[in-house]
Symmetry: C2
Subunit: 425 residues, 2 copies
């Protein structure tokens, strides 16, 4: 016969299983982040290579490709050692994201071939790398969306947004490199660059909203004023070039180095974010294991008859215990729990669940922007028979024309969903 | 070495595991609903017993208690045979809810003792039954909030709201029974009854928004016009009684019977909702198993070398396949999948995940009202040092005074959170 205590113990064990799972996912996120960083650099060098005359940048590109091949193997090994037994929770979503991105990794050699033979334009190569990197970021997004612990979820949201901001910085590097390399920056390129800069800022703002003070400080310190000044000057050169004006291709290297310095600094902060995340997972696990041990001692005590069957009316009493306000720190670990009644523990757990659920809602709301944008994109794809990139480009163009944020455009598109003509089929 | 196909298979197996889990939870929901129905009747009879002079209603109450004891055992057996091994997903929340409600079930004999010895007022007994039933409904809520399949989630939301509406109808029966039994209905009782009637309607509206057409029709047919007319007349008698006016205690039985007829009709619809839910779970499982079999055949084919390693560029191509619009019916099951590439399947899966996620967001939004109310209640408890019932009563009073919905009051309370003085600790 199971009692409430058995279910309390089962709940605690589930919590521990989830924390273990989060620890493993965090390790995977770290390897994913490393490959993303490598592919971002590979994309930048591919752009330089494609935009420059014969042979330039080829040694650097070859070296980076070799580095990426090793990182890719590391990630594939990580996938290979994952436990893929059926599980509840976000398993189906995470595994599907991995299945998707593995297709992209399979196709990477063919992509490199197109670059090496100069068969593709810089734009086309950039789009291909973006798609692959987006696939990798989607794995991180899934992890951020699945964490059941608000503090861990907060760290994952900060990390995901930081990675997203860094990816936009990488796209900026690639676009700017193509512009300097070819000596031209047309109006569309300029507008696109401004949009990338703006979107980066917003991602970094979400990061700042959810990161720990330590990490916020680390990011402030990582942005060295002199590097930033150089980058801002070059941004101005591209974005204010008059139509037809020739850019100094000699500044290509300077642009690439300034962007790369920024991205390497971001990678440093990203690593620290990942460290903090793994540390937090370990700490939470230890705490939960301590609580489990207490509950198990209570179970032993009750089995040996030490605990009388409690059929008191206190369940129906309006307990005056003040629940923790949402912003309060976590309660101290159970101090002298053996003298506490199971009812106390059960009520405390109920209050905790409530608090956790409230906090999670708040944290996850920040992920909703991305979901809204994806949803609006899907709608455009369905109603206008557009491909994914075309739909995204349409929305980006609308955002730029109307001087609105992408998420505002997405909301507008979704609001029109009911009146859009149904053209599919 | 794992491939994308391995992860696609793993994702499908996770889906099946979740459907199995939902099937079991649905069975548990059904037993829970039965006990809730029994306890609602027990509460109504307890009110009649407490409000009436010596000995009246005692045989009926005794009989109902005996029936409830059997149903309670059935639910405890259900809990007993649950798999409580650690799992991911909503395991921790579900088990915690069960641990909580088991404490209430343990205390039920003591509650009955208070009623039998007439130690408690009808109001106090009603509050105790409400708390226990709310604990049982919270188990159903957890199930509704955890389903990953939008159609199943929709059915669970319909079922949960129907159960909630039925519980409000039960509270109406109990309050009205106490009023008729004692021959008095003061202004507070009248206002409370009107509020219960109003809240019922809203729950039933949400049910209608999410239920299948079959079930909506079933509920329309279940509301027999003559029963409803009788109930409405008695509602009017209570709610329009002038201060100090004596009610005809002879109408107590009529009131109880009219309410009971309505609730029994609701129970019939509730059972059909549960049937439909279990049928849908079984159907989804069969579908998923068929898809799994296809994927597994593909894996065998690839292992025997029939499938060449695919390193094509199609991953990077902007496929023109139109994704399904959110309101489209489910796609037909994979027709000739062995000739389809893994990339096709992976992309189809990605689109499906997107659609599922969008629909789930829509369905779950309807659960947010309840969450908002719980959150506002928690805030009031913390800031005004109120117990749970007192906090709920305060909000209900605010809603009645301002002629607002409870959720609107909750939103107002939460909006004030930052300016509320921090009095705790």
């Amino acid at each position: 016969m199971k009692t409430g205590l058995h279910f309390l113990i089962a709940a605690k064990r589930c919590e521990i299983a989830e924390l273990q799972e989060l620890t493993q996912t965090s390790a995977l996120v770290r390897v994913t982040a490393r490959l993303v960083h490598g592919l971002q650099r590979e994309r930048g060098l591919s752009n330089l290579f494609l935009a420059s005359p014969n042979g330039h940048w080829q040694p650097e590109l070859d070296e980076q490709v070799a580095a990426c091949v090793a990182m890719q193997q590391e990630l594939l090994d990580g996938f290979g050692s994952m436990d893929i037994e059926p599980r509840l929770g976000q398993g189906a979503r995470l595994f599907s994201r991995i299945a998707y991105v593995m297709q992209g990794l399979d196709a990477l050699p063919a992509l490199r071939q197109q670059v090496r033979t100069r068969a593709w334009t810089p734009q086309r190569a950039t789009q291909a790398y973006i798609r692959l990197i987006n696939g990798l970021l989607a794995v991180v997004f899934e992890a951020a969306d699945s964490a059941g612990d608000p503090d861990i979820s907060r760290r994952l949201v900060a990390l995901f947004n930081f990675m997203q901001g860094k990816e936009l910085a990488g796209q900026e590097r690639a676009s700017g490199a193509a512009a300097f390399g070819s000596g031209r920056a047309d109006a569309a390129t300029q507008q696109h660059l401004l949009h990338l800069i703006d979107s980066q800022e917003r991602c970094l703002q979400v990061f700042a909203d959810f990161a720990s003070d330590d990490l916020k400080r680390a990011w402030q310190q990582a942005q060295q004023v002199d590097t930033l000044a150089g980058l801002e000057r070059l941004r101005r050169v591209i974005c204010t070039a008059a139509p037809g004006q020739v850019l100094d291709t000699g500044q290509t290297q300077m642009w690439f180095d300034a962007c790369t310095a920024r991205m390497d600094a971001m990678k440093g902060v990203e690593d620290r974010l990942a460290d903090e995340l793994q540390g937090l997972c370990a700490q939470r696990q230890e705490l939960a294991r301590g609580e489990l041990a207490v509950l198990e001692r209570m179970l032993v005590a009750s089995a040996t008859g030490a605990r009388a069957v409690q059929r008191s009316l206190s369940f129906f009493e309006d307990n005056a215990v003040t629940p923790l306000p949402p912003s309060a720190p976590a309660p101290p670990t159970w101090a002298t729990p053996l003298d506490r009644s199971i009812l106390d523990l059960v009520q405390e757990q109920a209050r905790r669940l409530q608090t956790v659920s409230d906090e999670l809602d708040t944290v996850r709301a920040s992920l909703n922007e991305r979901k809204l944008i994806e949803r609006a994109k899907g709608l455009l794809m369905a109603h206008r028979h557009l491909g994914e990139e075309a739909a995204h480009k349409t929305m980006r163009q609308m955002a730029m024309n109307q001087n609105k944020r992408l998420v505002e455009v997405a909301e507008a598109v979704l609001a029109m969903a009911d009146v859009l003509p149904s053209t599919q089929r």
